[in-house]
Structures are given as C-alpha cells and as structure tokens.
C-alpha cells in the first residue's frame, strides 16, 4: 500500500505525541480542552511514541534534548508526521544567539510543518494541522 493511501487513513485518526520543553505545553492544553477540542478530528494525545503518528516538538531544543527527540522520532512507527511548534524550532526564537540551543530543527529531524508564533495560539495550531489534512487530501 503506497504512502499516499496510508497517509489518507492516517489523517482520519492522528494520535499526537507531545515533546515539550517550555511554552508548547501551555498552548496544546487548550487545543485538547473543550473550547478547541482537537478530538473532533480524531486526534488524541498518546503517551508512547509506538502509538504516535504525529510528533509535536515545541519550545527550544538543547544539545542534550535534541538527541532524545531524534531517538523518539526513530522509535515512532512510520508513516509519521513531525510538527515544529513555535518560532524556537524554526530559528531558535529568542534564544537565537545562545551557545547550546538548536537553531533549525530540520537539521536534526525531518519536519513536515512549522507553526510560527511565540507561542502559537491554539487557532494557529489548528490551522496548521488543517493544512496537513488539506495537503494529504489534494495529493490522494
């Protein structure tokens, strides 16, 4: 079964594994909460990368924490999606000149989607995820 058909099924029930260091968690909570409710789209937070389809990496990553993030990405069963949340994952954010922060996440992990914002509002997160859905629909 080639990748496009697999992604079509994956999109219908995305299980999210959160890898947060700082502000990301405060923003994912309302998305899981009653107001924005990501479960409408079949998305539930899961605890182990073995169950996960989508790895959300939020906040700045240091030298040590990126190695663990890479290992977790490798431990996820493919096909999987990686979302970089917030400007820290895009360009290091406010820690752009710090000695130990990772500047570009995609140098270490193949990132499918960046959601800008410091931190991104829940609407921005949902809009980003919708764009993944639309992109998968168009390809299939």
């Amino acid at each position: 079964m080639e990748d496009a058909k697999k992604l079509k099924r994956l999109v219908k029930s995305v299980w999210v594994f959160n890898w947060f260091n700082s502000c990301g968690f405060t923003e994912i909570l309302p998305v899981v909460g009653s107001r924005w409710d990501m479960e409408r789209f079949g998305m539930i937070p899961v605890a182990s990368p073995r169950h996960a389809d989508c790895l959300i990496i939020a906040g700045y990553q240091t030298e040590k924490s990126i190695r663990r993030a890479q290992r977790i990405y490798r431990q996820m069963p493919k096909p999987a999606v990686v979302i970089g949340l917030g400007s820290c994952s895009m360009s290091g954010g406010m820690y752009w000149d710090s000695y130990n922060t990772i500047k570009r996440l995609s140098d270490y992990i193949p990132v499918d989607l960046y959601i800008p914002g410091c931190p991104p509002r829940p609407e921005a997160i949902l809009k980003g995820i919708m764009s993944i859905f639309r992109e998968v629909e168009d390809h299939a």
Binding site: K12, S13, G42, R50, P77, K78
Partner: protein, 325 residues
C-alpha cells in the same frame, strides 16, 4: 443445528462491530459531558484501520513469539466468551458451558495483556503488568461474590441446573426472595456495576495503561496491528462483561410485551439486550470515567476489598435470609 453453526459464525464478528459502536458512543457522550464536540461515531473504526496500516515494531529484548501471540490470544478468548453469553436470545453454545466458565474466560484477556506487557521487556510495561495483575486480584473477589450469590438465589428458590446461563437469564431474579432478597440483590447489582470499570480498565482504575504515569503502561511497546488487536479485544470485552451483568441482573425480554412471534421475537430481544448493555456500560463506565480521577494502585486494592466485598457479603446474607423466610 445449522442455525447454531451460522450463529456461531456471526455472533463473534457482530461482537466486534457492536464493541466498536459502543466505544464510539462512549467517546461522544464523554466528550459531550465535558462540553466538547467529541469525535465522529465511526472514529474507533478509523483508529483500527489506521493502526493496521502502521508498522508493527517488535522490541529487540522482547520474547518475540510471546509478544506477538498475546494480542491474538486476547481477541480470540474475548470473542469466544460471546458465544457462551445469552445476548437476549439463548446463548449460542447453550448446553456446552456455564457461568463459571464465563467467569474464568474473562480472566484470559487480562492475562494475555499482562503476559504481553511482561514479554515486551520495557520497564513501563512490567510496572503496568504488575498493576494489572493486582487489579485483577482485587476486582475478582466482589465479582465472584456477585455471581455466586445470584446462583445461590436461584438454587435456594428451587431452580435446578442453576449455573447454566440460559436458566439464569430465563428467570426473573428480582422478585424471588421477598424484600430482604430484593435489597440484597440491589446491593450486589451495585457492586457488579462497580466492578465493570475495574475489569475494563476505565479511568478510575486505568492504573495499568496510565498514560501520564507509566507512558502507556502495558501497551508501551505495542504498535501497528498488535495494538489494533488489543484495541478490538478491549472493545469486545466491554460488550462481554456488560452482557454478563445484564444476563445476571436484568433478564427481562421485550418480545413478550409486544407479543411478537416467529423471527421478530429474537431480533427484538437482541436489540433490547443491546439497549440494556448500552445502559449498563453508560452508567458504570462512561459516567464514572468523566467524573473521577485515577486511583493509586494500593488504593485500588483497598477500594475493591473493603467496601464492595463487605457490601456483597451483606447482600449474600440478605439473600440467604430472604430465601429462608
């Protein structure tokens, strides 16, 4: 005879679909109670289809043959239970198994879960496995008392072949032993409802799959189709345990009231049975799941061995008293 063989083929598969249906309704109602919109009704089916597509990772240190066979054993044993249970109509394997067999068959899925968890060599899974075993030990005591006291009620009121499920689901249990019997049975029904979330691992008792504490617990290492089989086993187990509770405590059929004859009567009874199963599942697992938080494992043991055991013993004594008068 052909009808029985046909039913024996259809009932397990129907059990899976009904189980997924209940899981979907359960998630929607839980969401609505929390003011959320909740997933579409077919979301569990979508989850299973997605899991089937994913890679099926077997860890290095795991005992491979045990790790992959346990999901298979769990689903097969749970589907086998449905054949012995009276789903509104007389059980498919009517003369070939009884109440104690169903009680023991309910142990196999959780045992397969525990062995699968231990076989996966992950520290989270072994902690989850131990917790699941302790939980099994604790909820089996009130469950055994509830089952035996219903059988005792039937036995002392003169029915014979008491442990066969068709006899149990045939007699109207509530009026048999006068007022004390009624009170005792109500207490025992309460304990049975209290056991169901423990048996299914729903929120107040999901110590073995606790996401926040032990990262997915027993399922930490399972992915892809193995996880799909466990997901289905959990769905079917909800139907099995709820229809056992319905068979014991709510054995009323609707075909008599509407006076339906021929083929319509079993169909109506089956649908009414599904309604009763939904009611039992809603009261015992969905509402409780939304309202309470997770218990610590030592609390689970004392919660199950203190109150329900005393209550159900009291119920048993009331029933004994009721039948003597």
């Amino acid at each position: 005879m052909i009808m029985k063989v046909l039913l024996a083929m259809v009932v397990p598969v129907a059990g899976i679909l009904i189980g997924l249906l209940y899981k979907g309704i359960d998630r929607i109602l839980a969401a609505r109670m929390q003011g959320r919109v909740g997933p579409p009704l077919v979301q569990p089916l979508r989850d299973v289809r997605k899991l089937l597509v994913k890679e099926n990772i077997v860890p290095d240190d795991a005992v491979g043959w045990l790790f992959s066979s346990m999901p298979f054993v769990a689903l097969v044993s749970v589907m086998a239970i449905l054949l012995y249970l009276p789903l509104g109509i007389t059980p498919v394997l009517e003369g070939y198994g009884d109440l104690i067999l169903v009680l023991y068959l309910l142990i196999i899925p959780s045992l397969a879960l525990v062995l699968g968890g231990f076989a996966s060599s992950s520290p989270y899974a072994s902690v989850g496995g131990q917790r699941e075993m302790v939980k099994m030990m604790s909820y089996e005591f009130p469950l055994a008392i509830a089952v035996i006291s219903v059988a005792w009620l039937l036995y002392s009121s003169g029915a014979e072949n008491v442990f066969s499920l068709s006899v149990i689901s045939g007699t109207h249990v509530w009026g048999l032993a006068g007022i004390p019997g009624l009170a005792g049975l109500a207490v025992i029904f309460l304990c049975m409802l209290f056991v169901i979330p423990g048996e299914l691992g729903r929120i107040p008792f999901d110590v073995s799959e606790a996401d926040s504490e032990i990262a997915g617990g027993i399922f930490a290492e399972y992915s892809g189709r193995n996880l799909a089989l466990f997901y289905l086993a959990d769905a079917v187990k909800a139907v099995a345990i709820a229809s056992l509770a319905v068979a014991l405590f709510l054995p009323y059929t609707v075909s008599g009231i509407f006076g339906l004859g021929g083929a319509a009567a079993p169909a109506a009874d089956f649908l009414f049975h599904l309604l009763k199963v939904f009611f039992v599942l809603f009261v015992s697992s969905t509402v409780v799941r939304v309202v309470t938080g997770r218990l610590a494992i030592s609390r689970v043991v004392s919660v199950y061995w203190k109150y329900p055991v005393i209550l159900s013993f009291l119920g048993l004594l009331l029933i004994m008293g009721g039948t003597l008068i």
